[in-house]
Amino acid sequence: MIKTPKNRIIDAIRILALSFLALICLAPFYVAVCYAFKSKVDFAKTKLAFPTKLYLGNFADALEVRNFFDSVRNSAVVAVLMVIVIIVFCSSGAYIIARKNNKFYNAVYYLFQLIILIPFQTIMFPLYKELSTIGALNTLWGLCLAQAGVNVGYYVFLYTGFIKNVPISLEEASAIDGCNRYQTFLYVVFPLLKPITMTSIVLAFLASWNDFIISMIICQRLDRRTLPLMQFYFFGEYSANVSVAFAASLLVMIPAVVIYFCAQKYIVAGMTAGAVKS
C-alpha cells in the first residue's frame, strides 16, 4: 500500500477508533479490578479512580468463604470429565459418520445438528425429572452427562467436517497391513485429528467451566455447586460486600483467561470452522 498523506490519516483514524473500542472492551474488567483491589473504605472514597496500592484482603476473604474450594473442585472435575467424554464419543462417532456416509449415518448426523436449534428450556424439566429418577441430581457425573449430551451434536459436527478432509488412503493401507477398525482409528486416524481435538478440548472446557443454566437445574445443593452458580449466589448474598465477590470472580476467571491466551489459535480455528468453507 502506498503511503499517501490521505492513507496516513485513514490509518490514524483506524488506530484511534480501534483503541477506543479496545478500551470499551476492557472497561467492565476495570470496574471488577477496582472493586477487588481496593478495601471497602478505600472504594467508598476513591470509587473508580485507578487503584494506587494493591490491597489483597478481598482475595484472602474470598478464599476463606465456605465452599469456594468445593466449587473450584466441582467445576474442575465436571469440566475435565466432560472434555474426555466429548473427545472420546464425538471423535469416534464423527469418524464413522464421515466414512460410512450412508442413509442411516447421515440421518443421525442431521439429528445431531438439530440440537443447535433446540432451546434448552424445552427439555429442561423432563431432563430434570429423568435425572432425578436415576439418582443423578446433585451429582457431578449427572451434570457432566447433561453437559456432554447437550454439546455432543456440535462437536460431532466439528469433527465430521474435519475428518471429511482427511485422506482415506492411509486407512486403507493400515487395513491391508491387518489392522482392524479399532486399531486403524486409534493408531492411524486419531493422531491425524490433533488440531480439531485441541480445539474441541479448549472449547468444551470453556463451555463447561462457564455453564450456568444446566448446573442451575442439576446441582443446586450447596456442596455440589459449580463456580458460575457459586458466583451467582455469591453476589446475591454478599451484596453488601461486592469487593469480595469480585475478588472471587477474578480468581475464577484466571483459568479461562490463561487457556484463552495459550490456545487462542485453536479457539479461533474451531469457532470459524463452519464459516469459511467452499
Binding site: V31, A32, P119, F125, K129, A148, V257, T272
Partner: protein
C-alpha cells in the same frame, strides 16, 4: 457364514457411533418426547399421576395475553443483537484486516470478553451501569423499563462482537488479494469494492453468523435471570425466561411445556427460513 461376517462388521462400525448416539438420545431426545407428552396434561411437576386434559393447554396459549410482552422482548433482543453484533463484527474485521503495529493485541482484547461466563458478564455490567454511569451522570438502563432490554443487549453485544470479528476476518483472509488489486486498478472506490468483491466472498460467513446469533437471541435467558430477574415490571422477560418461570417457580409444567414446544417449532421454522434464504443468495451471487 458370509452374512454373519457382514453383520459383525456392521456391528463394529456401529459401535463407534453408539456412545454418542445413546448419550444424545438419553439427554435430548427422550426428554423432548416426554416434554411433548406433558403438554397434554395439567401436571404440576410433583403429582405421581398424569392427568390428561387434551388440547386445553394449546388453546390457552393462544389466549394468553401475558405472552405478548415476552414475545416483544425476545424479538427486540434478537433484532438488536443480530444486527449490532454482525455490523460491529464486520466493521472491526475490515479495520484489523491489515498489518500494523499492535493489531494482534487489539484483536486479542476485543475477543477476550467471550471467555467470561454469562453470570460474570451480567454482574460486571450491573456495576458498570451503577458506578461508571453514575460518574458520568447517566442513569442505569436497567432501572427503567423502557431501556432495560437495551441494557441487556449491550452486555451480549460486548461479549460476542469479538467472535463475529474473528469469523468475518477468517472470511476476509480468503479473498485473493489479486482481485482487490485488480479492482483498484480498474478505479473502483472503497464502497464499490466492498459491495462487489468483499460481500460476495463473505457470503458463507453471513450464512453462518446470522443464524448463529438468531438462535442465540431467541434462546436468551441468562442475562435476564442474573442481571434483572425479568424486571422491572416484566420488561426483560424473554420467552426462555417465561417458560422457565412456569416450569420451576410456578409449578405449571403442563402449560410451561406447551409454550416451550410451540416455541421450539417457531424457532426451528425461523432458523430454517433464514438459513435457506441466505443460502439461496449465496448461490445467486
Amino acid at each position: 457364514m458370509k452374512k454373519r461376517m457382514k453383520w459383525k462388521k456392521e456391528l463394529i462400525d456401529f459401535s463407534f457411533l453408539a456412545p454418542s448416539l445413546i448419550l444424545f438420545l438419553f439427554i435430548i431426545i427422550i426428554p423432548l418426547i416426554k416434554g411433548v407428552r406433558y403438554t397434554f396434561t395439567n401436571w404440576d411437576g410433583l403429582m405421581p399421576k398424569l392427568n390428561y386434559v387434551g388440547l386445553k393447554n394449546y388453546i390457552t396459549v393462544f389466549h394468553d395475553k401475558d405472552l405478548i410482552q415476552p414475545i416483544g422482548n425476545t424479538v427486540l433482543f434478537t433484532l438488536v443483537t443480530v444486527v449490532a453484533i454482525n455490523v460491529i463484527g464486520l466493521g472491526v474485521a475490515l479495520a484489523v484486516n491489515r498489518e500494523f503495529k499492535g493489531v494482534n493485541i487489539i484483536k486479542s482484547i476485543i475477543f477476550i470478553p467471550l471467555v467470561v461466563s454469562l453470570v460474570l458478564v451480567s454482574q460486571m455490567w450491573m456495576y458498570v451501569y451503577s458506578d461508571f454511569f453514575s460518574m458520568l451522570g447517566w442513569q442505569s438502563p436497567l432501572i427503567d423499563k423502557k431501556t432495560s432490554m437495551l441494557g441487556l443487549c449491550i452486555m451480549s453485544i460486548w461479549r460476542e462482537s469479538g467472535l463475529a470479528m474473528m469469523i468475518y476476518l477468517a472470511g476476509l483472509k480468503n479473498i485473493p488479494s489479486e482481485i482487490n488489486e485488480a479492482a483498484i486498478i480498474d478505479g473502483a472506490n472503497f464502497w464499490q469494492r466492498f459491495r462487489n468483491v468483499t460481500v460476495p466472498f463473505l457470503a458463507p460467513a453471513f450464512t453462518y453468523c446470522i443464524p448463529l446469533w438468531l438462535a442465540a437471541g431467541l434462546r436468551m435467558y441468562d442475562y435476564s435471570f442474573v442481571a434483572t430477574a425479568g424486571g422491572p415490571q416484566h420488561s426483560t422477560e424473554t420467552m426462555a425466561y417465561y417458560i422457565y418461570s412456569y416450569l420451576f417457580p410456578y409449578n405449571k409444567v403442563g402449560y410451561g411445556q406447551t409454550v416451550a414446544v410451540i416455541y421450539l417449532v417457531v424457532c426451528i421454522i425461523l432458523s430454517n427460513v433464514v438459513t435457506r434464504t441466505l443460502r439461496k443468495r449465496e448461490f445467486e451471487q
